[in-house]
């Protein structure tokens, strides 16, 4: 058994943020994650890096936090962020009084904004609905959850931090009401392991109450399911928000090659309830049409849902249990010594992706103080990824098509060198294995060999393999033989294939119409007919 000062539970943005912060302060920490990093809420959102403008009226504190973190993240995580800017669009249906409140709110929070003329707006965003009255530009941006989480984990590792994926924390271990360790299970080989530590940071997100519950500590986390739609292409060049009180289906986010429309809000009983439902999708499309006319003619490639962990102190309950948006999006740091007389356990709940670093800083401050560590937080200053050298860029552009080269460098940073070397030695490995998202054979091979890659879906999260137009129709069977090279690590190929296709279809089933229906019929023909794959759930 290995001991650490701190065990962090949960490999979402907050968890890896804490791991990085503690590691940079020289505090030994291990992060345990039951699945792959960022497999939960941290990747199941719209990918919007808030400017805070969305919260300017209702939640001024969140608004102020967002704008300051927005500026920091654009600096330290530029490779994960696309600084698209965002618009707030007031249409005829939207209340002009709210607009005035909103303008005041933005001014108070220090969110810079600029009014855009309608002619400029329609010229820059030709698909935007034509009945708008006013448009304001704010520093919204888009952020890639997968990349940001992995960048944090890799940065933490450079500072000595550890993480283990596919390790589920079974229970916390107490001695005299004091944390002394955790018991975890390696889900890949079912081995139990005990890890000694003095502090546990519960960053389990939507699972946090289950973690606390393992020692009978009550933690009130509301599971708020949000469903989103992914469109086949970039329909807008910037984030488009409706200028009205935050509601369902009122944000479009151009994310990498796709556009995401979000979100719904529904309180659910458990974080596992993340299957998008048809009525949610109908509602999203109905609301989305207010910004994007003829929305039903635009191709949706999948639906997905995440479960937001919202925090609510009992005192704040004011009826309206079914309305997740009424609950604060602010985060809370809960020292269980004060609330539950358990020493060494701190839970971090609520918050939002944009403020993950700030949340991590607060947690790390608390932990550092406990260990008498006086080093200040430096996560806001140091870049997550070292600058990619010009030589590497040049080499990548020589060996790969421009889009493929740029995307690979964003994903792999300096690690791209190894991939390029492979391609240099064997140019056939420079072919696109995933053509929709332009991922080369060599890159998939490299990621498959990563110690952290245990399933095809892990490779998908790191590369975007299978996340484009065809949703895995053509890249899945191409990727499988590469997994075969690593027999010991992956499940039998048939199982990997079934699991992967079923995961893709989970998001496709609720949106089966139009072009994606044609695509899926083609996929079905490939896998159930040509490859005779049994055990895929019927569409």
């Amino acid at each position: 058994m290995q001991d650490y000062q701190v065990v962090i539970v949960g490999g979402g943005a907050t968890g890896v943020g804490v791991l990085r912060d503690l590691s940079m302060r020289g505090i030994s920490a291990l992060l345990l994650e039951q699945g792959d990093l960022a497999h939960g809420t941290s990747s199941r959102f719209h990918g919007l890096l808030h400017s805070g403008a969305r919260y300017a009226v209702k939640d001024p504190l969140s608004a102020a936090e967002c704008i300051s973190e927005n500026i920091i993240l654009k600096k330290i995580a530029a490779h994960c962020i696309s600084d698209t800017g965002g618009w707030f669009v007031q249409s005829e249906e939207d209340d002009p009084d709210y607009v005035e409140q909103w303008l005041r709110g933005c001014a108070n929070a220090g969110i810079p904004l600029r009014e855009i003329s309608l002619s400029e707006a329609y010229w820059k965003e030709p698909l935007l609905k034509r009945n708008i009255l006013r448009v304001f530009e704010v520093p919204d941006a888009t952020v890639d959850g997968f990349k940001l989480v992995w960048a944090n984990a890799k940065s933490a590792k450079r500072y000595g931090g550890d993480y283990k994926t596919y390790h589920r924390v079974e229970r916390l271990i107490l001695e005299n009401k004091r944390i002394v360790g955790v018991a975890a299970k390696n889900l890949l080989n079912q081995e139990e392991l005990l890890i000694g530590c003095q502090v546990v940071v519960n960053a389990g997100g939507a699972w946090a109450s289950e973690i606390a519950g393992s020692i009978g500590v009550h933690l009130d986390v509301i599971c708020d399911k949000g469903t989103l739609l992914a469109f086949n292409q970039r329909l807008f060049q910037r984030v488009i928000n409706r200028l009205h009180p935050p509601s369902d289906g009122d944000i479009f986010v151009p994310h990498e090659t796709i556009t995401i429309l979000g979100t719904t809000s529904e309180i659910v009983g458990s974080p596992r309830e993340n299957q998008p439902k048809e009525e949610e999708i109908r509602r999203l499309l109905m609301m989305g049409e207010e910004l994007l006319p003829k929305i039903m003619e635009r191709r949706v490639i999948r639906a997905f849902a995440g479960v937001r962990p919202l925090h609510r102190e009992d005192s704040e309950v004011s009826g309206k249990m079914d309305e997740g948006r009424e609950v604060s999006r602010n985060f809370a740091l809960i020292d269980h010594e004060i609330h539950d007389q358990v020493q060494g356990l701190i839970s971090i709940v609520g918050g939002k992706f944009t403020t993950y670093r700030l949340m991590a800083e607060k947690v790390a401050d608390w932990v550092a103080k406990r260990f008498g560590n006086l080093r200040p937080c430096s996560t806001a200053q140091e870049k997550l990824l070292s600058e990619i050298s010009e030589d590497l860029k040049k080499q990548a552009l020589q060996l790969l098509p421009c889009a493929a080269a740029e995307k690979m460098l964003e994903r792999l940073g300096e690690d791209a060198g190894a991939v390029l070397l492979e391609i240099q030695n064997d140019p056939s490995k420079g072919q696109m294995l995933c053509e929709c998202e332009m991922v080369s054979v060599a890159e998939v091979e490299k990621v498959a060999l990563d110690a952290d890659a245990h399933h095809l879906a892990d490779i998908r999260r790191k590369t975007r393999l299978g996340m484009g137009t065809c949703q895995g129709a053509f890249c899945t069977y191409r990727a499988l033989p590469l997994l075969g090279l690593e027999h010991a690590k992956f499940d039998p190929l048939q199982d990997e294939l079934k699991r992967f296709i079923n995961q893709r279809w989970k998001g496709i089933r609720p949106i089966l119409w139009g072009q994606q229906l044609r695509e899926t019929e083609l996929t079905r023909a490939i896998y159930t007919s040509i490859l005779q794959l049994n055990g895929i759930r019927d569409i």
Binding site: S82, P126, L127, N232, Q233, R234, L235, P254, E256, T257, I258, K294, E297, R298, R299, P401, C402, A403, E406, K407, M432, E435, C436, M438, G468, T469, C470, A473, F474, G514, Q515, R518, E519, L522
Partner: protein, 415 residues
């Protein structure tokens, strides 16, 4: 294509790769990742602001085999040409002048034609001088080996700008000759008119400009649109009276049917319906019992090559059906892919070999057909294909309208 249509066009691609598997260029040039890759695939990244190497885009020859193949009806070439336009605008800023001048030259078959036909003898003489071709290659990037067709006196119709009285418009057609007939093959232009007149039609020939296809292929979209608008304005009075527009060139025909309807000017709503390939028009006459059948027997056997832009029109091969009506005529439809030239593509220095390689199976088929006595010479509607097939196989290749001239007992007037 407006923004909404281009969104829809990209959404229709289901990534099946049928286009790439049929692409004549991808078949011979491994450095070209194919129409799907540089078209719909790369487009999703271009929308994100990530452009691909213009060199990859330039491999596309605009033959439109991809669009004929695509089971989803994606206008793949349109995506590629738009991207090329964007890239060429970017290049204008950074300045790679030599190829820009070439785009200017090859895109403007019309201006070249006008220059060349001022004194065809001199131009043709110059073009035959090896040194001139070497200079053209060095300065303009136009291959010294490519088969530049000789210029002839500009085609002026038979009786210039004939006025057709209104009551006779129901038996009139507008003829859109195209640059090849205008500047390189005026006799074929005369043949088209004679055949139409023989069938009882008055032929109207306004002073048309280049249809715009070469401009588009060389990234000059605005200029192409400008030409199209001028041409539509010339056609419009006739279109409004229901007069069909006949083309003898399959690329012009495709532009009239596919591109012109997208313009927002009067007549664009009619041109798609009223534009006909010459033989498509004659075949409709035949089906309606209106085609003159006074054919003399001609003992001739022909190999027929269907131009890519005829295939893209989706009307089959009406000339083959018609040729087979003539007693004594035997036609073998070779169906051996693209000739490779694709308008101006095969003239480009770095594309000459690709064009040759693309056409090689066709050239071999032609030579083999002649060797075993299957046919004596070749027929195809497209001037570019004619030149390339003659260049690649050494076998005489003409427009099929000449067979009808002969069968009807007509002869051209040497003006």
């Amino acid at each position: 294509m407006n923004k909404l249509d281009s969104v829809k066009n990209l959404d229709a691609c289901i990534k099946c790769s049928a286009c790439t598997s049929q692409c004549p260029v991808a078949m011979v040039q491994p450095l070209f990742s194919g129409p799907k890759s540089v078209g719909p695939d790369a487009e999703r990244f271009r929308l994100e602001g990530i452009d691909i190497d213009p060199k990859c885009l330039s491999y596309c020859s605009n033959c439109k085999t991809c669009e004929v193949t695509c089971p989803s009806g994606v206008k793949i070439t349109e995506i590629i040409l738009r991207a090329r336009e964007k890239a060429s605008l970017a290049a204008q800023k950074s300045g790679t002048t030599r190829l820009q001048v070439r785009d200017l030259v090859l895109g403007r078959a019309e201006y070249l034609g006008r220059l060349g036909t001022i004194w065809p003898g001199l131009t043709n003489g110059l073009l035959k001088v090896y040194l001139v071709r070497v200079l053209m290659e060095k300065i303009l990037g136009i291959s010294r080996r490519a088969p530049l067709p000789p210029y002839q006196a500009k085609f002026k119709g038979i009786r210039n700008n004939k006025l057709v009285p209104n009551h006779r418009l129901s038996k009139a057609v507008v003829f859109f000759p195209g640059c090849f007939i205008n500047y390189n093959d005026s006799l074929t232009g005369q043949a088209v008119i004679k055949v139409l007149e023989h069938n009882g039609y008055d032929v109207i020939m306004p002073n048309f400009h280049c249809c715009g296809v070469p401009l588009q292929a060389n990234g000059k979209f605005n200029e192409a649109r400008g030409n199209a608008k001028k041409n539509l304005a010339l056609m419009n009075p006739y279109l409004q009276s229901g007069v069909p527009v006949i083309t003898g060139c399959t690329s012009c025909g495709l532009a009239l049917k596919e591109e012109y309807p997208n313009l927002e000017v009067s007549g664009s709503e009619l041109i798609g319906r009223q534009a006909y390939d010459l033989f498509e028009f004659l075949w409709e006459l035949q089906e309606g019992g209106g085609l003159k059948q006074d054919f003399q027997e001609i003992p001739v056997s022909l190999g027929y090559h269907a131009p890519c832009h005829l295939k893209a029109q989706g009307i089959g091969t009406p000339s083959v059906r018609l040729l087979r009506l003539i007693p004594g005529v035997r036609v073998s439809d070779l169906d051996t892919g693209c000739c490779g030239l694709s308008g101006s593509y095969g003239y480009k220095q770095e594309k000459y070999d690709i064009a040759r390689q693309i056409g090689e199976p066709l050239f071999q088929r032609v030579q083999e057909g002649v060797r075993i006595g299957e046919f004596q010479s070749m027929a195809t509607e497209c001037g570019g294909c004619q030149v390339q097939i003659e260049h690649g196989s050494g076998i005489a290749t003409k427009h099929p309208v000449w067979v009808f001239m002969q069968a009807y007992g007509l002869s051209p007037e040497f003006l």
